[in-house]
């Protein structure tokens, strides 16, 4: 079986516009969540989010590009550029044909939909911009990445709500492992922080109005974020032959379905995915030192996730670290697993475990080491990244140090 390594990483999110800034913020336990600056925010009851700030699309793209690139596509393109530049790859000939892009998203071009519904329903106009469809479609980001970098192999978009990125990266991993491709650009992107996007989430009554405090007894719900994360996954022999710097190795992946409830998570479904990823990686559970939690900050997730980890690891659950970086960058929904994979890579490469910030009160139902409030230095050899989506679709990745 072929081995798969990560040779490039890129991101833009509420903590930073690139990987170094994001990792620095995670090390410092900085919070990127703040007051939303969006149109009609006064009509929302949830007014906070992990928004990408200080971002000017005109600094990165020209007018023609902006006419085609929704914000989620822009975030994907910027992240992919950073990742591919780091990997140092150019795609032509046979390599281009053996390289693809699989990205996750949940809402796709939701801001484009929101703006254009407004135009026809609220403003009463009878005409919309001709590019509305190619701008809002869920695969727009993956397609533009493939076009910009000449990636001509298997390319598509995965939409499994909050697990989209992990499912996407799992697909990319398996494609290289089983010989369908040699290089895959993968990750996810999301930009739902528009009036309609936040209003829809408000309806479920699981959103916090003040902060995201995963695993803390006084948690008050989830907070939405936005942004993207992208990685270059590469066949290990290919990477070594060209002397590429290896950030980490992807060693296992598993996905399960709860087949139970459209919003309530299941301990069994989550635990099966966790165990499945370790089994796929042939990783003894004692070797796992860190888990990047799904950790949304809702009572339903946090209690179920801790119970699933306890179930999957037995006594070892008490000696591993589990943190949720959503407390800092918010929940990027379809892009969240990608940004969170950065915390996994930081743990493996730098021996720094990103904290769960906003942690205030012990919850007996979440009695694991959640790395509260401050990053911690610790050497870990293998890590997991959890994602458990609405709809009961679970996806867990296993990584080890290069």
């Amino acid at each position: 079986m072929r081995r798969v390594v990560i040779t490039g990483a890129g991101t833009i999110n509420a903590l930073g516009h690139n990987v170094p800034d994001t990792l620095e913020a995670m090390r410092e336990g900085r919070c990127g969540i703040g007051e939303l600056e969006i149109r009609d925010v006064d009509r929302l009851s949830v007014k906070i989010g992990g928004q990408v700030r200080g971002y000017d699309e005109h600094a990165h793209f020209n007018r023609q590009q902006i006419a085609l690139y929704d914000r989620f596509t822009q975030f994907a393109l910027l992240s992919a550029s950073e990742a591919i530049s780091q990997a140092g790859l150019t795609f032509f000939g046979e390599l281009a044909a053996r390289s693809g892009v699989v990205l996750g998203t949940s809402g796709g071009g939701l801001s484009t939909q929101d703006e254009n519904y407004r135009v026809v329903y609220e403003d009463g106009k009878n005409r919309v911009h001709p590019f509305v469809v190619p701008k809002l479609m869920n695969n727009a980001a993956a397609s533009h990445v493939s076009m910009q970098w000449n990636l001509k192999g298997p390319s598509f978009t995965v939409a499994t709500a909050c697990a989209s990125s992990n499912h996407a990266m799992g697909q990319a991993f398996q494609m290289i492992r089983y010989g369908l491709a040699d290089v895959m650009v993968t990750g996810g992107s999301e930009s739902m922080l528009c009036f309609g996007g936040v209003k829809a989430w408000e309806g479920l009554r699981v959103m916090s109005k003040d902060a995201c405090r995963p695993f803390s007894a006084n948690r008050s719900g989830m907070v939405q974020g936005e942004g993207a994360g992208a990685f270059v996954f590469e066949e290990m022999g290919h990477a070594k032959a060209r002397g590429a710097e290896i950030l980490a190795e992807v060693i296992g992946f598993a996905m399960t379905s709860d087949a139970a409830d459209i919003v309530m998570p299941s301990k069994q479904g989550a635990a099966r995915a966790i165990k499945g990823a370790m089994q796929d990686a042939r990783l003894p559970k004692e070797k796992v030192g860190y888990i990047n939690a799904h950790g949304t900050g809702t009572a339903a997730n946090d209690k179920t996730e801790c119970a699933a980890v306890a179930d999957a690891f037995g006594p070892h659950a008490d000696s591993l670290m589990l943190s949720s970086t959503k407390s800092m960058h918010g929940h990027l929904i379809g892009g969240t697993g990608a940004v969170e994979l950065l915390a996994c890579i930081m743990a493996l490469r730098e021996g720094v475990i990103a904290p769960t910030i906003g942690y205030e009160e012990h919850d007996p139902e979440c009695a694991l080491d959640v790395v509260p409030n401050e990053a911690r230095e610790a050497k870990v050899d293998a890590v997991l990244s959890n994602a458990f989506a609405f709809g009961g679709l679970n996806a867990v990745l296993a990584l080890k140090a290069a």
């Binding site: 009851s45 309806g203 009554r205 699981v206 916090s208 719900g221 919003v263 309530m264 900050g297 009572a299």
Partner: protein, 86 residues
């Protein structure tokens, strides 16, 4: 229709029961209404009475809005309707 009658009607619809089969001392649990059904009931109540119900699904037991029984919900909504008129 009184507030109580309207609420019983909304809850009965969620529980897929006849109005006459809902009694005020029952909890939503007794009536077989799960967390999604609860969120939908609250939405229906807000629409019906044009009020904002303070309820967070993360901490139903700590919400200012008492949902321990049908009677508790009726009392809470009557309070919210009064406050809104005042």
């Amino acid at each position: 229709m009184t507030v109580q009658e309207k609420i019983v009607e909304i809850i009965a619809e969620q529980a897929v029961l006849e109005v006459g089969d809902v009694s005020l001392d029952q909890s939503l649990d007794d009536l077989g209404i799960d967390s999604l059904g609860l969120v939908e009931s609250i939405f229906a109540i807000e629409e019906e009475f044009d009020i904002q119900v303070p309820f967070n699904a993360n901490e139903p037991e700590n919400s200012e809005f008492d949902i321990s029984s049908v009677q508790a919900i009726v009392t809470a909504v009557e309070g919210l309707v009064r406050a809104q008129k005042a």
